[in-house]
């Protein structure tokens, strides 16, 4: 009985703690984003972060994009050919990529590549007192370090998703038309016919929100990590897990708005 009560109490405490953290993270995100309008302007540092976060993720995005498009074409062909509708292979690949797999897979790869390094970097900067050093040199670490990374994420991810989609569509075309022998004209024609602007808009909207989400969670986890080496390691793992789960949850929510 006592053990039961303890367990219930523990669950309650954990829930309260999680809600408090959610609030803390939200306030952190808002106060940081508000610094966007504060002087001094961090233009040069945005560019540096775009390089680290966006260009740094480019290769992995191109590779995963290509293979996603290829496997979609392969799977889709064998499914569609059974009911004699392989003419719809183009739209199948394009809609899967643009609406769902592009934003979600790119975001997940982005979390692994850029998100984890953001959390780890910020955590290490805190352990080695670099945050305090910036503060002492009258540079606000929240705008210099946090804001630049969040904005870089929010701008980079939509661009990466567009590149992911484009590469995936091209790879899907190569597999579908050149390898599996679907008529090229039909493939492209059906694709253009079936994909609406609404689909592209949905995918694009998702990627902007995913970018903001990943940026805020990863900087937050780094900022609130216990300032020890184990603390940073733990925070990095948690940030990647939390981002991945949140991306999928947010994906469901946004999708339900756009259908």
């Amino acid at each position: 009985m006592q053990a039961m009560m303890n367990m219930v109490g523990q669950v309650g405490r954990n829930t309260l703690q999680a809600i408090a953290k959610l609030g803390d993270a939200t306030i952190f995100g808002i106060t940081t984003l508000r610094l966007f309008f504060a002087r001094p302007w961090q233009g040069k540092h945005f560019v540096m972060q775009m390089y680290a976060v966006g260009v740094g993720s480019l290769i992995i995005i191109v590779i995963t994009g290509a293979f996603t498009g290829m496997v979609l074409a392969l799977q889709g062909y064998h499914m569609l050919v059974k009911v004699g509708t392989e003419a719809l292979l183009g739209p199948w690949v394009a809609l899967s990529l643009i609406r769902e797999l592009g934003p979600v897979l790119a975001a997940l790869m982005f979390v692994g590549r850029a998100g984890s390094s953001i959390t780890a970097e910020i955590g290490i900067m805190r352990v080695t007192e670099q945050m305090d050093a910036l503060e002492m040199m009258a540079v606000n670490p929240q705008s210099r370090v946090m804001l630049t990374r969040i904005i870089a994420c929010a701008i980079s991810l939509p661009l990466l998703v567009a590149i992911f989609d484009a590469v995936g569509l091209f790879a899907g075309y190569v597999i579908g038309v050149d390898m599996l022998g679907v008529n090229g004209g039909v493939y492209i024609g059906e694709t253009i016919d079936k994909v609406a602007l609404n689909d592209i808009q949905a995918g694009f909207t998702k990627s902007v929100y995913f970018g903001l989400l990943v940026g805020i969670i990863c900087t937050y986890m780094g900022q609130r990590a216990t300032a020890t080496t184990e603390g940073v390691a733990k925070a990095t793992t948690q940030a990647v897990m939390l981002c991945s789960v949140m991306v999928l949850i947010l994906d469901y929510i946004i999708t339900s708005f756009y259908l």
């Binding site: 007192e129 002492m136 606000n140």
Partner: protein, 268 residues
């Protein structure tokens, strides 16, 4: 230069600093000493404005750091430098860019002027010619000297040092100590040093403040500290394991714990 009154800082209800009154004089080296957990790092962070006190005031050049706006605090920081325990060089920048960082951030000086200033500061700490090294390539002593150069580059009125000699070999420690002493004497700046290195602290100090459990237990010039009759001061200076500051931090009787006396078993 800096004055504190009835300064209290508590963490979760535990007072790390309790009713501290200090006066840090201009153009002198003030050394704050104390054992681990005595509150000296907390005190330094408060003096530097990195943390806000729970109660009391910190007057810096006539302004209360506990009350000034963030903007004003940043303006005041142009006149302050700090050398951190682990140097805290920005590891994405090389030595030159680290030392030049405050100048790049807060001045519109020509790059050639900045270069001259950085060269002068690096010469002062004996590291001219190391401009293109990255922080990860430097030894602890060299990193600390670069941090020193960076703290000096804006010609500050006050420089804070957090454990400047800890983790360094005796020669590097000696170099850093004499740098603090000489620079203070030559440039008329005020130095505040936090350390648990008794010998180095007493050597460079003009004024010593001894902290124990968040309270000032002794204050004065190094000679008077050495002559102090307070047994706690003597124990700290001589580094004796037992004395008024007990070796054992346990709260329960040893015999009770050994006998697993009911009600006395401590939870981990």
């Amino acid at each position: 230069m800096i004055k504190t009154q009835a300064l209290v800082r508590s963490f979760d209800g535990v007072k790390a600093l309790d009713d501290v009154d200090l006066h840090i004089e201009k153009k002198k080296v003030t050394v704050i000493m104390g054992g681990s957990g005595s509150g000296k790092t907390t005190l330094l962070r408060l003096l530097a404005g990195l943390d806000k006190p729970t109660a009391g005031s910190i007057m810096f050049a006539g302004e209360d750091l506990a009350k000034v706006s963030r903007k004003r605090l940043y303006e005041l920081r142009m006149r302050v430098g700090m050398v951190f325990q682990y140097s805290a060089l920005l590891n994405s920048l090389d030595v030159y860019e680290n030392v030049a960082f405050p100048l790049h951030e807060h001045t519109d000086l020509d790059e050639s002027v900045i270069q001259t200033m950085v060269t002068m500061k690096l010469e002062q700490v004996g590291l001219r010619g190391f401009e293109r090294m990255m922080p990860s390539q430097l030894s602890g002593g060299m990193a600390k000297r670069v941090a020193f150069a960076r703290a000096l580059v804006m010609d500050p009125q006050v420089v804070f040092f957090d454990e400047p000699t800890s983790g360094l070999d005796p020669i590097s420690a000696g170099v850093v100590s004499s740098l603090i002493h000489e620079t203070t004497a030559k440039t008329r700046m005020t130095s505040v040093v936090v350390t648990h290195d008794v010998q180095a602290g007493l050597d460079i100090a003009d004024h010593v403040i001894l902290l124990w459990q968040g309270k000032v237990i002794a204050e004065g010039n190094p000679e008077s500290i050495k002559q102090s009759e307070d047994p706690r001061v003597q124990q700290f200076i001589k580094g004796e394991p037992n004395g008024p500051i007990p070796f054992s931090r346990s709260q329960t009787a040893y015999i009770d714990d050994l006998l697993h006396k009911p009600g006395c078993v401590r939870m981990s």
